[in-house]
């Protein structure tokens, strides 16, 4: 049970949050222009890294805000937390 520093509320227990999977996958602006393969790439393909991963988290039992988290999946260490739309920190 790790602690997540919600950019809006501060540090809270993990059980207040829900994970939204890999971050920075942008929904294509013109889906109809895409081939099946290109659309499938957006729809299905996700990384599952052992190590530092960029993730979306939602403070679902708190402020309900979505934000991004840089987490090492091997030890749950959170390297940084930043708001939606903000630039990800360089690795």
């Amino acid at each position: 049970m790790f602690l997540i520093n919600c950019p809006f509320c501060g540090e809270r227990d993990q059980n207040e949050f829900s994970s939204g999977g890999e971050a920075h996958i942008v929904r294509p602006k013109q889906p109809t222009e895409l081939s099946d393969d290109q659309w499938a790439e957006f729809l299905f393909m996700r990384k599952n890294i052992k190590g530092v991963q960029f993730e979306r988290w939602n403070h679902s039992h708190g402020c309900r805000k979505w934000f991004n988290v840089v987490r090492d999946t091997s030890n749950d260490k959170i390297h940084s937390v930043y708001k939606m739309g903000e630039k990800p920190p360089v690795k």
Binding site: F2, R27, T32, W66, D76
Partner: protein
């Protein structure tokens, strides 16, 4: 005082006798005794039978590592508890304990026959034996396994005890109140850090607190005296909390730990009453100091499991802490110095003993002390066998060869009534590994010690592989100063004198003249796995320790291999010819010792088990004898049986009344989301499959929401309340997820949209009145409202008032009948409902529940998301192509609707089914096939909804069937257990295809 209680100690209060029952026999001990010490004082060693071979077993240790002395507490069906360690259980007046695993009793055990046939029960026996023939499973193997499986009995009635949870935050948590833990806690607390010290025992001090040997002195006093003063000092420090009888169960990441505090387990039955039994502490600590000490290792030799064989240090504790001797003629068998302390302690109380030492000699101070006292020592000898069935009566020794691989010389037989064994010490690294820490192997002492870890955690003392007094104090103080970034000088001048061990000799599996296959060298006492089993597993090709463990069940019992893991690893390494640790170390998982379910759930039992949501009309439903159905957390009226009606009869009556005259449904649980903002229309365009821009104010529209993969996710009616204001309804179960999903899109994909979402599900109550007489009823309630079709057509809404309270009335229908839904602020919900009921009385208005609602909508072929869909259905699969806008450029899931997979013609599609026998009601979930003769039978789909329709007087069903769209009129078969049911594919709409009833 029994003649085994040989020594007075301050931990046993001999003025307070405590009587208890063990296996139906009355005994007594004293306040301060554990069940184990009290039984030993009564001369009871035999305490159970082993799991597989049912061999007689005795108390082996004095703590949580105990593999044998586990018992069942209490005979009551509600309070009984299995697998309690007699070595940890403090006795109390009225305690009733039983041995486990024995039938008919501990002294004569039928399962003991397994011991005689043990050559037939090798490692992996269950995997190998209970395989074939298949027909043997039900009648032979399963009953056999069931009869002999499991430890103890579960309670059969609810636990009457009270349990509690508590959240706490500390700067520093110290786990373990032995020497190093106490020093650590004192340093931390004196540095102004809010500190918590926990220890699983009743008293602090670990194994130092009963130390009385002259070879171990601190500041010229016995180390126990010195530590007592330290304990006395820490009790005065204000920002230090000390919790005894508290054991850490789990150490999770980010220094989040769970601890179980025993509050009343040691109290008499009378004093326990109405008090909280156990409390689960949920601890967040900025820094954690692990000082969990070490567990003494057994030695692995033939018949090392008889009652009367104990760990050497446990014999010492029973003597010096509890005042009880484990025997009158004791042999100590060791490979290290610590057994000498036991020997000297025994000697001083006049207990006859001698030492068998694997080592060629020992030059330490304590060994010399023993020699000077005249204690007989057999250096370079090994115990090769033991004798005695219910209690050890003699041992057999032989000399060891120079390399330690074989025995030489003649057998020496010595009589004894107790054998103490010591194979060295294993640091208790469970906490460290639970938290994710890794281990290093320290060759000198043959121990795994914690690898430094970067998470505000440190291990000190014996659990870090530091065993002698001087090193413990020195290293602990230094490490804590660095760890806490302080400079404590309290122990700078502390003078330590101690005997230091110089000679070491570790042999994992001791040599014997008897071939291994004919020996019983136990490694895991609780699960009865032997050295032979481990070697067999390796011979059969297992290599990874995790595999060997599972195959042989070593370390898999309730003690989680606290005594057995090291020997298993050692024998594997020796046999495979590799270094320790290269084939993996086992992972210790929580809990450290078993937790009761009561502690885990705390107060969340009974009505507090799960949140219950009730509508404001709930009490009326209860008063009117509704049966309830759980929908998510909601309690919804299921049906309202009248005069002892069955569910079927009630639903038939309700369904008929709703179509013949009037029905009323509590629809308050439907999710409601208030949507506002200048981009609200555009937002709806993007989340629903149909178009919304042109919906005029005051109108309602049904919408279907997809996932990005094109599958139906939710549905509901949305009403345009004003230019930039909508009220969306969702399914009852989907409300929270839909809101979450919409927020996700708004915040992450379309932040440019000016839209605000608010859940208003609980803010409004909804009464839905339907049926041909509904208009008359609504007219009676809202006489000023013009209900004409011109002014108030289907799919529109009006603002109005009920006794000055604002209402929204929507003319929408989920039944196909003329229907009105009235929304009112929740607190007026019940009064609105009662007004509807009284206004409807003359029309026999009939309250109906979810079952009737489902039936009525099925007659009309309306889907229920989650019942007729399962996350694999597209709108087209549901024959709902009409709701998918062709014009809109994009909406959630649109692109997926023409992926190669979603346009397949042979997808499962929603169809209607009519049974050939109109009285036959299909089972929901039943499989559908074309013919039952071609095998394997090809499964075409399954029934999703099925009812007997009173309005059509026949059975109707919805189903998903492969290529079903083009199957109208096709005969299909539904094979059931006893018969095949013949059905015909039909349209999904069974009643009023022309929607005439909407405007009746």
């Amino acid at each position: 005082m029994s003649d085994l209680r040989v020594h007075k100690t301050k931990y046993i209060n001999e003025t307070k006798r405590v009587s208890f029952k063990y296996d139906g026999k009355n005994y007594f001990g004293y306040e301060g005794d554990t069940l184990a010490s009290a039984l030993l004082a009564n001369g009871v060693h035999l305490i159970g039978r082993s799991f597989k071979y049912h061999r007689p077993r005795g108390i082996m240790s004095c703590g949580s590592e105990e593999p044998n002395a586990i018992c069942q507490i209490s005979a009551k069906n509600d309070l009984t508890e299995p697998n309690v360690r007699a070595t940890e259980l403090e006795i109390y007046d009225g305690l009733e304990a039983f041995s486990q695993n024995c039938w008919p009793n501990v002294k004569f055990d039928i399962g003991g026959i397994n011991n005689l046939i043990s050559p037939l029960i090798p490692a992996g026996f269950y995997y190998k034996t209970f395989m074939w023939p298949k027909s043997f499973w039900k009648k032979v193997y399963e009953p056999l396994i069931r009869m002999s499986a499991g430890l103890g009995k579960s309670p059969t009635e609810p636990d009457p005890d009270i349990y509690d949870h508590k959240y706490v935050h500390y700067d520093v948590l110290v786990i373990g109140g032995g020497l190093s833990g106490i020093i650590s806690a004192k340093i931390a607390a004196k540095s102004n850090l809010k500190t918590l010290l926990v220890d699983d025992k009743k008293t602090l001090g670990g194994s130092t607190i009963y130390q009385s040997n002259d070879s171990f002195k601190i500041d010229d006093q016995h180390s126990s005296k010195w530590l007592e003063k330290e304990i006395n000092e820490i009790s005065k420090i204000e920002n230090l909390t000390v919790k005894t009888r508290t054991s850490i169960a789990a150490y999770h990441g980010y220094n989040y730990l769970l601890a179980r505090e025993n509050l009343t387990d040691h109290l008499s039955i009378k004093d326990k009453k109405d008090k909280i039994r156990q409390r689960l502490w949920k601890i967040r600590a900025k820094k954690v100091i692990v000082a969990t000490g070490a567990i003494e290792r057994p030695l692995v030799f033939n018949n090392n499991d008889r009652p009367g064989i104990l760990l050497s240090n446990s014999i010492n504790k029973y003597l010096d802490y509890y005042g009880v001797t484990c025997g009158k003629n004791i042999v100590l068998f060791t490979n290290n110095d610590s057994a000498y302390e036991t020997a000297i302690s025994l000697y001083k109380k006049g207990i006859k003993n001698l030492i068998v030492d694997l080592r060629k000699n020992s030059q330490s101070e304590i060994a010399k002390q023993a020699q000077n006292l005249g204690i007989k020592i057999y250096f370079n000898h090994v115990v090769t066998n033991t004798f005695g069935y219910r209690r050890i009566n003699s041992v057999e020794l032989m000399e060891l060869s120079d390399d330690g691989n074989t025995t030489i010389g003649n057998k020496i037989k010595l009589n004894c009534d107790c054998l103490g064994i010591s194979g060295g010490w294993t640091p208790t690294v469970h906490m460290h590994t639970q938290s994710g820490g890794k281990l290093d192997f320290k060759n000198d002492d043959q121990v795994f010690i914690p690898k430094e870890i970067d998470n505000d955690q440190i291990s000190v003392g014996a659990c870090n592989g530091d065993f002698d007094l001087e090193t413990i104090i020195d290293k602990t103080v230094n490490k804590i100063n660095i760890f806490l970034e302080i400079n404590n000088q309290d122990y700078k001048n502390t003078k330590v004198d101690c005997s230091i061990e110089k000679e070491k000799r570790n042999i994992w599996l001791l040599p014997n003249k008897i071939p291994l296959g004919k020996t019983k060298c136990f490694i895991d006492f609780q699960n009865d796995s032997t050295a032979k089993d481990i070697k067999l597993a390796l011979k059969e090709g297992f290599r990874s320790i995790e595999h060997v463990k599972r195959y042989t069940t070593t370390g898999m019992a309730t003690d989680q291999g606290k005594l057995s893991n090291m020997h298993a690893l050692g024998i594997i390494a020796d046999t495979a010819g590799v270094k320790m640790g290269t084939l993996g170390t086992t992972t210790f998982r929580p809990p450290f010792t078993p937790l009761t379910f009561g502690t885990i759930v705390g107060r969340n039992v009974g009505k507090f088990f799960e949140v219950v949501r009730k509508t404001s009309i709930h009490d009326w439903h209860v008063d009117n004898k509704a049966k309830f159905e759980n929908v998510g957390q909601w309690k919804r009226p299921w049906y309202y049986p009248k005069n002892g009606e069955t569910k079927h009869d009630a639903v038939q009556r309700e369904s008929k009344a709703a179509r013949d005259s009037a029905g009323i449904l509590d629809a308050s649980t439907l999710g409601k989301i208030d949507i506002q903002g200048t981009d609200a229309s555009e937002f709806l365009n993007r989340v629903y499959t149909n178009a919304w821009s042109k919906l005029s104010i005051g109108k309602c529209r049904y919408g279907l929401m997809l996932n990005e993969d094109g599958m139906v996710y939710d549905d509901g009616v949305t009403t345009r309340l004003a230019e930039n204001h909508y009220l969306m309804t969702t399914t009852t179960g989907g409300a929270a997820n839909v809101l979450g999903k919409l927020e996700d899109y708004l915040q992450t994909e379309w932040p440019e949209l000016d839209v605000y979402l608010t859940s208003v599900t609980d803010h409004y109550s909804t009464a839905s009145v339907c049926g041909p007489n509904s208009k008359k009823i609504i007219n009676k309630i809202f006489p000023e409202l013009d209900l004409s079709d011109e002014n108030f057509p289907h799919m529109s809404f009006k603002n109005t008032k009920l006794d000055n309270i604002n209402c929204r009335v929507m003319r929408i229908s989920f039944t196909g009948e003329l229907s009105y839904e009235i929304n009112i602020e929740s607190k007026y919900g019940k009064s609105l409902w009662e007004k509807c009921i009284s206004a409807g009385q003359e029309f026999n208005i009939t309250p109906y529940g979810t079952e009737t609602m489902h039936l009525l909508r099925a007659e009309k072929g309306f889907i229920i998301v989650g019942q007729d869909t399962d996350g694999t259905m597209t709108p087209s699969d549901l024959q709902m192509d009409w709701i998918v806008s062709k014009k809109k450029y994009d909406f959630i899931g649109k692109r997926s609707l023409y992926r190669s997979d979603t346009i397949r013609e042979d997808r499962k599609q929603l169809v209607g089914l009519l049974t050939d026998d109109p009285k036959e009601i299909l089972e929901e979930g039943a499989q559908i096939v074309l013919d039952t003769n071609t095998k394997p039978i090809d499964m075409l789909g399954h029934v999703t909804s099925s009812y007997f329709s009173p309005n059509l007087n026949k059975s109707i069903a919805l189903a998903v069937v492969r290529s079903g769209k083009n199957m109208k009129g096709q005969k299909l078969t539904i094979p059931m257990e006893n018969k095949n049911i013949n059905v015909t594919v039909s349209d999904t709409i069974f009643l009023d295809k022309e929607n005439k009833r909407l405007n009746a």
